[in-house]
Symmetry: C2
Subunit: 267 residues, 2 copies
Amino acid sequence: MTQILVNNSFSVVILQKTNKMALSKNQIKSITSLHLKKHREESGQFIVEGEKITIELLSQQRYKIIGIYALEKWIEKNKALIISANFPYYTCSSNDMERISILKNASEVITILEIQNQKKPIVENKQNLILENIQDPGNLGTIIRTADWFGIENIFCSKDTVELYNPKVIQATMGSFLRVNVYYTDLENIMTEHASIPKYTAVLNGQNAFEISFPDEIFLLIGNEGKGLSTKILSYPNIAVSIPKFGQAESLNAAVATAILLSKLKM
Amino acid sequence: MTQILVNNSFSVVILQKTNKMALSKNQIKSITSLHLKKHREESGQFIVEGEKITIELLSQQRYKIIGIYALEKWIEKNKALIISANFPYYTCSSNDMERISILKNASEVITILEIQNQKKPIVENKQNLILENIQDPGNLGTIIRTADWFGIENIFCSKDTVELYNPKVIQATMGSFLRVNVYYTDLENIMTEHASIPKYTAVLNGQNAFEISFPDEIFLLIGNEGKGLSTKILSYPNIAVSIPKFGQAESLNAAVATAILLSKLKM
């Protein structure tokens, strides 16, 4: 008796949540609109693509899942997980997936999530990262991933930094957007609010970062890919540090420079 | 008299080398064909885009310049340099530039260069890099740039590594392809040929790289973005090293991991 009831209730869920037909024009339009910042802001939703990351999404609480769009084979493989949590899902054709994908080659699954309100980070007794005007989505995503590796919990971003929910940023984080607190704010507020916490600024002519012993409570500041940190930010008290150069390249990629400095923080 | 002669000879050069008309269909086709590996291999030419890098190109000897395609304002600004070296150049409309560009927003100048024969690197008494099956052009370009920063002269690449002359690789090097020797070869040959030089392999469960003092003569080996180094390569004698993890990310970006290890080599 119970067995039958369970089966029935499962069937109901399946009927409600599965759509075996192709996606409608409107559904496709509404998903692809999330490729653009304007529509992400309007709808409060963003898009994540890929098998591995979606599995991770199914077991996290941070972002509400609005919908899972996947090939039938992916749905079949992960049905238990999807149904137990009652996630809305839609079975899509490969053609559908290609149309809504953000990648050159569509994955088997795309998930729409709800954008969360920002949570103001607690910075005390931590090594925190500040990014000013990082423009390249791959750089921001890679920095978030690297921060996650080194156990950096908080990243403050200036408001002109590329948006966290840009699909290229999300993809480059390789899932680390689920764990690192990325907070967009006016950086000058941070500089004044936490005046007593030492601020190390990555510049081209500072102290040799390899010879510095970094404290356990700091802000590490990284600037724009081409222009570095602004004079406005550098006008606040700070300790200028540089990665020593042994060859001839004019500069390092911003994500690479951040990674080298974060690794030094942990040595 | 001399003054007039110089002026005349300059005029002749200008007449020969400038084409004030729009590029022909065939010219555009031949330049855009270089966006593809197949045509780069057939023609032995590759494409470089951007104002800053082209200025650097004008004063180097490593790559022969086949042609400079630029907006009139760029040509005017750099005429002295171009004419003194007798470089073939073509004045293009913005429309032309957009059609031949490899970027989303065309630069003011695009240069076609001749692919050089590989030069076998001298590895003794040096810290050398080996890359196996790196697939992302941005990663390879960033690794070359970082190697240049840290004074690493030689990068050996497995033959299945993304091609050096891929425009995305070239762009990401930020000019460092002019200085670092990138050599495609069968990595197993390197392993046997230089058996006595220590080989440090970047893996996920090796010795803590932060606690190692790296010698001045080594190979550092970095593997594919998803799969790491192959069992084939790891079957040769090697010292497995890892970047210690303090947080939860599953892995680091390949260019980031390389950069952190190269920085440690120099500390």
